[in-house]
Amino acid sequence: MKSFQRLLAATAGLALLAIAHPAEAETLRLLTWGDYAPEAVIKKFKAETGIDVEVTISNNEDMISKLRATGGAGFDLAQPSQDRITGPQTEFGIYKPMDLSKIKAELFIPELLEAAKKNTAVDGKVYGVAHLWGTSGMVVDRAKAPDIKTFADLCKPEYKGKVSMRLKRTALLGMAFAAGDDPFAAYSDKAKYQAIIEKAGQKLADCKPNVKAYWTGSDQLLGMIRSGEIVASEAWDSTGFKLNGENASINFVAPSTGALGWIDTFALPAKGKNDEAAYKWINFVMKPEIAAQIVESSGSFSASKGSDALVSEKLRKSFQEAFPASVIANIKWFPAIPAGLEEMEGKILDRVSAK
């Protein structure tokens, strides 16, 4: 019996230790995209604040699914795109409002901060602040496919089995713009929107023989382009810049109908446990020199004021080639998606995938 008691005491002691341990080293559980939190930045943050950062790589849909599963628990900071906040917040209540007084507004480019604030507001409360932005368009090997200028050009018969895209809403919307429609203007009119995306869905289905495989992660896309198996793809600009650094004939090409612009934000999960650390991280990574480091690793642009001056020459050249002033002015920014729209799109995409 004595030994049993001793065992019990030891177990209890161990359990206490296990509980007590996390309090010593503070952690920030960050739900973000690949390359948004480079190892070097995490190390600097730890040195400055003593907080460990635990990174979980994710994407827009996955973030919403993860947070929906737990009602917004498990993470202290998430990075959804600004258009994907109001819908899920209305439906699932997975975020909590931001305390803007804890964010150093002077670090941000004012227009981007304001745009994200406006687009992530539900019932007058702000749920997201801008971090990185970029666009969706196409990555094209211009030596092999010089005439691809819009999404519709990906479907030209001579590129049969030579293109790729991600079978998600961006491809659908890109196709709608290429057909001369304005799906963003129809966001509030469900009947009209349904008609537009049905037409675009048909175009995607007709285009399917041209698609070698729908990509699901940027590594897969990089593999297909590097090996020369495909000559063009619907893609993020950051992927284009990365490839441009390796092969000058490949770069991001904004569709002539306008690249689709997104802003990824910082948002606080509803049951996050360490908001203080989250605010510290935001203010830390928005410092120009840190922001420039993240721009370098992700290939996306930062909402941090002054960071663009610190970016390497190589990345700047790729960017300037893909984004002359006229292209920037023509960017179509994703407006916040009203709840319910994604279900309509989902059905159309399912039909395309079953074609």
Binding site: E61, D62, I64, S65, R68, P88, T90, E91, F92, G93, G161, L167, K168, K208, V211, K212, A213, Y214, S227, G228, E229, A339, G340, E342, E343, G346, K347, D350, R351, S353, A354
Partner: protein, 297 residues
């Protein structure tokens, strides 16, 4: 009358009870926490109809959704048909292998052959599928080999079609058919086969009258396992089939993860569960076996 104070208590009986309780607890907890409760929860979710954001009512609209949209029904039918074909092919390929290992190979050779079946499963399914992709992709080994040998002029894409999905599925399932077949064939006394020849039988009639009937429980057990594994497979059809895989589990994944539509996703899950149970039941009926005579052995 006072209560009977001294009913003889057998201490050993208490001990046995405790032992039973201890042995059964992990099993009961496992079934309850990991199988029963989540399924009940999913069933309830699948009966939620979305009316407005955060407003639900109970109803069967999610199931109506499945049967109303030909795309989903087609995906299920296609998945079931491909899985049945994969099971049949696996059986045809695995039977001679198992027969050789169980009846003809001896000693070292037997162990070596069995190990050869087992070895690919030492790495995960993902790695095995990527292996196939490296061999079969347009810039892969096979394509380059054909060009080098002068058989084709340009690169050939072998990936992203149904044949490749079938190869992948059979490859992935082979072991799960071979093992129950070996154990079934092992128990067949060689003298029965000799007696068959003595009585004037030939290879075909002995296979049909002696070997297959004896191995039937193994055949059915292997087929059930392979069918279930194939039907519920996600990686192999998605990666090898690419844009045209249309596997039903991929539909469920899409509903849950990319559409965050758990209501429809759960309904799909239950449709899949009902379909697979029905098919296994039909299979048992047709072969005259029962679950206890096959998987229970």
């Amino acid at each position: 009358m006072s209560a009977p104070a001294s009913i003889p208590v057998d201490p050993r009986r208490d001990g046995r009870r405790l032992a039973l309780l201890l042995v059964a607890t992990p099993f009961v907890l496992w079934i309850l926490l990991i199988v029963v409760i989540p399924h009940v929860d999913l069933l309830l979710i699948s009966l939620h109809e979305k009316v407005a954001p955060r407003v639900f009512k109970t109803g069967i609209r999610n199931y109506v959704e499945f049967f109303g949209e030909p795309v989903y029904v087609q995906a299920l039918v296609r998945t079931v048909a491909m899985s049945l074909l994969a099971t049949a092919l696996t059986l045809v390929i695995a039977f001679p292998v198992a027969y050789y290992i169980a009846k003809l190979a001896r000693g070292r050779a037997r162990t070596a052959l069995f190990m050869a079946c087992l070895l690919p499963f030492w790495v995960s399914e993902l790695v095995r599928v990527f292996g196939w992709m490296m061999i079969l992709r347009e810039t892969g080994l096979l394509s380059n080999l054909l060009i080098w040998a002068g058989i084709t002029a340009g690169p050939v894409e072998f990936l992203y079609n149904d044949v490749v999905v079938m190869i992948g599925l059979v490859y992935t399932s082979l072991l799960f058919m071979v093992v129950p077949l070996i154990s079934a064939l092992d128990s067949l006394d060689d003298s029965l086969i000799e007696a068959g020849y003595d009585l004037g039988g030939n290879a075909v009639s002995i296979l049909r009258e002696v070997v297959v009937p004896h191995a039937m429980p193994g055949i059915v057990a292997g087929s059930i396992v392979v069918f279930m594994l194939t039907l519920g497979n996600y990686l192999t059809p998605t990666l090898l089939g690419g844009k045209s895989s249309q596997w039903f589990t991929a539909q469920i994944y899409t509903q849950f993860i990319t559409r965050f539509n758990w209501e429809v996703g759960s309904a799909f899950g239950f449709v899949l569960l009902a379909t697979s149970s029905l098919i296994v039941w039909i299979g048992l009926r047709l072969t005259g076996q029962s679950l206890s005579s096959t998987l229970g052995r």
